[in-house]
Symmetry: C2
Subunit: 228 residues, 2 copies
């Protein structure tokens, strides 16, 4: 059974999730980001040894304190910020823990369940990975003894698998509908409203009168906000 240290990268609370701007103001997008993080921490907290938020944003540090989780301030990276921030956090884990597995998940997958983490802990493989919509990676786990380099960004799911195969790592895949749903565009809000009724994120969206119905056009869901 793996001992997990969970790393969640958070770029910045401001100017995030701009693809949701037709529905949500900047303040509301920050609030959604916070409530999604809170949902994720609620799910993961009892299953892991530590949760580390890594960010360059001091507001994220304040929120880590509020949630009662750890924080690593990322260094000033000129390029490839997300992956370099993750390397900062991985370095911190290697300094502080021996023979632990590193679990990296994004901050925008509020439908994650304890069953997913339980599966991660039971697999004995060197790398565990979950696909997101659009070729990305929404869960990545590897032993801190490996010098595994995170390659988040375009088509990262396939790049991570290629890296693991090149390194001779044994891979397990968790292919999950709930894990695949990161929240980036209005249709994603619709899926969250459909499948996330037990989350705080759902409560927040519902409080903003955001509603979802079926659509038979190019998209599957109509997501609308009723301003009253």
């Amino acid at each position: 059974m793996k001992n997990l240290v969970c790393i969640i990268p958070v770029s910045s609370f401001e100017s995030s999730k701009t693809r949701l701007s037709p529905f949500l103001s900047e303040d509301e997008r920050t609030s959604l980001l916070k409530v999604m993080l809170s949902d994720i921490v609620d799910v993961v907290r009892d299953m892991v040894v530590d949760i580390i938020l890594v960010s360059r944003d001091d507001n994220v540090y304040d929120y880590a304190l509020e949630l009662g989780v750890s924080f690593v301030k990322e260094n000033d990276h000129e390029a490839n910020k997300l992956n370099n921030a993750l390397l900062d956090a991985i370095g911190s884990v290697k300094d502080n823990y021996v023979d632990h597995d590193i679990l990296i998940i994004p901050s925008d997958i509020p439908l994650i369940k304890q069953e997913h983490i339980a599966s991660v802990k039971q697999f004995e493989s060197d790398l565990i990975i979950s696909p997101s919509k659009g070729g990305g990676t929404n869960l990545l786990c590897f032993n801190s003894d490996y010098d595994f380099i995170p390659l988040f960004g375009d088509m990262s799911y396939f790049r991570h698998i290629e890296e693991a195969l090149t390194s001779g790592m044994h891979i397990n895949l968790i292919e999950s509908f709930y894990l695949s749903l990161d929240i980036n565009n209005p249709e994603d809000l619709g899926e969250l409203l459909l499948h996330g009724v037990d989350t705080k994120s759902y409560d927040y969206l519902a409080s903003l009168n955001i509603r979802v119905t079926s659509n038979h056009g190019k998209e599957r869901l109509n997501v609308e906000r009723n301003v009253e």
Copy 2:
């Protein structure tokens, strides 16, 4: 361990999948529908007692013969055609098999794996269900002793669960990224190109020079067809 009879409804080979018309001609959409069906039959065939295509289209009968699977011709239904066609097929199963479980899957989920069917067979619950993108149902399984009424259409996932709860059925959920991906719009073709390299459907799309790259706009994937 359940004995499964698999029912796959196929509305008609013509005039189908119109949301793919920017990329595919009508003939190509028919070919894609056929090759997806062939992929699904390849996966399911050895795991079930029988596969039944149900349709009003005689071309689907011809294709069932070609695939070596069974066919039920649906009656002339004035409304609610899909669910009534399924009831026709369910009636046929009840006439021909005793104590079997009925597995209903759509014709457009070429990423289905044998692991999914193995999970269905192992669960001892009365209803097994998988969500699709957009609130739909992409897998439904129940014992033929139940008078379970299929309710495919808008938000069918939640309507099926409600029906099962009302009937006192015990429910198991298979929440799968691969099962959630039915192929309706161009972005779905992109996911199929990313995750379906071992399918005939992939080979067909690749033969048409349909390619996928990352996108950072409202959609996650750019799907383009290069006419040479």
